[in-house]
Symmetry: C2
């Protein structure tokens, strides 16, 4: 059944994922040929510096600095360089040279995906990117193919391992953000500059990719509302725990109804923010640097996909799955599965979203304060579901301050945010400790 | 982008899944056409009795008793009749008439899959069966495509919703098997004749399908070792709970090393049996009638896929995902992804498997008994990891009987089973309460 032809596979980049992909292509050559139905020859690895140290022991003669020379003549190009340029240019060159492309480059897919999918469509090739979201967890293919006959209503994803590691340790050990971050950096879970992870930029790129696929709509990464986790301190974490929640950085992609700007009334919201998740929700038990994507679909109901969200060899598994699929398609002929953006739903700004919230305030411990606060909420169209007031005691006695934790019914984000501004200016609130959305109940 | 052609879709069977598939094909016609890139016309539904009551309100003129007439001329045939014949004959007819086939028929795929995949290969068509295992949960495509570049080491699946519902309620409520089964039957979770579920026949079919895919080996359903859950009573459940385990009916598909009959030493074990799962394992928190498949792969590490394992509309989602994929392929040309059975690994009998076990015995409460039992185990090459002896007290005082719970290190099933026979014949054991494998630690 194996085709007599051999496919020429070119690899761009030999970082932690790239070098594992190369190693697996070489060591599992026979098995991969069996699965693909055609031999896969790794013909070269384009890097900036052929002498740089690598995670895997690879034949030196495979390395080249001539990426373009390698790309032209390849049947499958695997792009694992990261960054926008020259990755974008190289992928376009590969597609125009008749190659299928496999990439793990989430930044590129999130920002220039549509453009590259269009090129692929025109030339009858494919761009696959299972590795771009949630590492080894198959989520792109299930969304694109398995759920192609269903309607996704909501995705809630833990798609950034670094922040889940940090929040999980804060939750389980009661540690401070800074302490855990420093530890995560020491252990290699967080980078020296953690901004991309802790400010939610990485998760926002993945949210844009997931929302685009799930709602058949090109979602630009700029349209994703983004909040990081740096404001989550021990106090906020303790308050969440006390109320039966765990705080997770969630990528939420949601189908909304009743939007005037959409002919069908349908629109979407895409947001990345730390959120309160009920302890008994399946996402609450995703620990460490693991990822999980929870999908609610009209017919399928609730699905969850769980696994390692990062790691060189884990992510290499996702890349190789795409390579084998691309190889099968390459020899069988026929066009690939194009991306569908036909639904083209508007992405609503965060102010138009409704969720439940939990507002934690420090207020003066004196008569009438709760009534004032409740009045401001009612005026702002934010309905109170639960309220818990406790007096804060300090070592030398009562502090004169009370902690007020208010759970709301579903409210419009804009109303909520205006109301919080009015609370801050009311004179009875000493401090807004936290305002967090409750997701997943 | 939509093709001018329209695809003729024929449906065989209008039970709970079939009628939902028909309803979704009709109500979501435009959306499905967008996704598939071609219009999908449901041209008919073949049933035995056109006047039988259905779960969905469907146009009467679609129904026909002439299945063969409907099949010939269809582009896509969806088989949801169940059973072996005439489903097998109809699928062969569909493939030979140039149609792609989508089926949810696990019994047929498990017993005659290879034969049908061969026919599909010969005529250049596809047989898709995402709905055959774990309902709406995408598991077939991830195993076949996403993990195509990886090596699956082990699958542990909760793939039968009925038995999970029963075991979960027994665990959480401390109820008896018979009571919960009767309740499950009343609520529609179990059939009037529950044999297929509670004796593990249904799970064994799914295990054969999963193992075939994961290990690229045709696994006949007869090669699956099968034990049901009818011996799990309150006593066994309580003992498991006390030892920190929950009992789940698991389908385990495992790659084994060192088999003399295999040129590479590699072989597999496929078994369905109630097993002890540690409480902190992700499978332990799969409640109710939900399904989950836990996959351990060499590169990807641990993955879990979770969702509704049954239900008409949930399963219909999986069927429609396959229909849309088949439609894309049908218009794009090119051959489909064939099944790969090239690895062709031997399936070892259960006696050759090694796992940990927990043996629960009632023994005479007298001096020397533990020593006798320990001696029999040592002689049988079964090494004790933990042992807990408690005196059983009855209302009128001590019973003269002690409960002995022994956890073993990994032992060969054949040794274990011989040893249990010797224990039963030893004179010091009043009753073998349970012998269960420990999986997932």
């Amino acid at each position: 059944m194996t085709d007599d032809r051999r496919l020429r596979v070119a690899l761009l980049g030999a970082g932690s994922v790239g070098s594992q992909v190369a190693a697996l292509l070489l060591t599992h050559q026979d098995e991969l040929a069996d699965r693909a139905g055609v031999a896969l020859d790794l013909v070269g690895i384009a890097v900036r510096d052929v002498d740089a140290p690598r995670d895997a022991d690879l034949p030196r003669e495979l390395f080249t600095t001539d990426a373009e020379g390698l790309i032209v003549g390849a049947d499958i190009v695997i792009e694992l360089m990261g960054g926008i340029e020259p990755a974008r240019e190289y992928i376009a060159l590969a597609l125009n040279s008749g190659a299928d492309v496999v990439t793990g480059n989430k930044a590129l897919v999130a920002t220039h995906g549509s453009e590259l999918f269009d090129v692929a469509d025109q030339v009858g090739a494919t761009v696959s990117y299972e590795a771009a979201v949630a590492g080894a967890i198959p989520i792109i293919r299930p969304l694109r193919d398995s759920l192609a006959g269903d309607r996704v209503q909501r995705i809630m994803g833990i798609v950034n391992g670094t922040t889940n590691y940090i929040l999980d340790r804060m939750d389980r050990e009661g540690s401070d953000f800074d302490v855990v971050l420093a530890d995560a950096q020491r252990l290699g879970y967080a980078e020296a500059d953690p901004t991309g992870d802790v400010e939610g930029f990485d998760a926002a790129q993945k949210a844009a990719i997931l929302a685009s696929l799930a709602f058949h709509t090109a979602v630009p990464v700029d349209a994703v509302h983004r909040e990081g986790i740096t404001a989550i301190d021990k106090t906020v974490m303790d308050a969440a725990r006390g109320a039966g929640y765990v705080i997770k950085l969630l990528a939420v992609c949601e189908r909304l109804e009743g939007a005037a700007e959409s002919p069908t009334g349908e629109a979407i919201s895409v947001r990345v923010a730390p959120a309160l998740v009920p302890r008994d929700h399946p996402l609450a038990s995703v620990h460490g640097a693991n990822n999980a994507v929870f999908v609610q679909a009209e017919a399928a109901g609730n699905l969850m996909f769980y696994g390692a969200g990062a790691g060189g060899v884990q992510t290499a598994s996702a890349v190789l799955g795409d390579v084998v699929s691309a190889a099968r398609r390459h020899i069988a002929g026929g066009v690939g599965v194009g991306e569908s953006t036909r639904a083209n739903l508007p992405v609503l700004p965060i102010g138009r979203v409704t969720t439940r919230y939990q507002i934690t305030l420090d207020v003066s411990d004196e008569p009438g304060v709760l009534s004032t606060v409740a009045g401001i909420l009612a005026e702002g169209r934010v309905s109170i579901a639960t309220a818990l007031q406790t007096v804060i005691t300090e070592a030398n006695g009562e502090s004169g301050t009370a902690r007020l934790v208010i759970g709301t019914h579903r409210a419009l984000e804009q109303d909520l945010s205006d109301t919080v501004d009015r609370l801050a200016a009311s004179g009875v609130v000493d401090r807004i400790v936290s305002v967090l959305r409750v997701e997943g109940d």
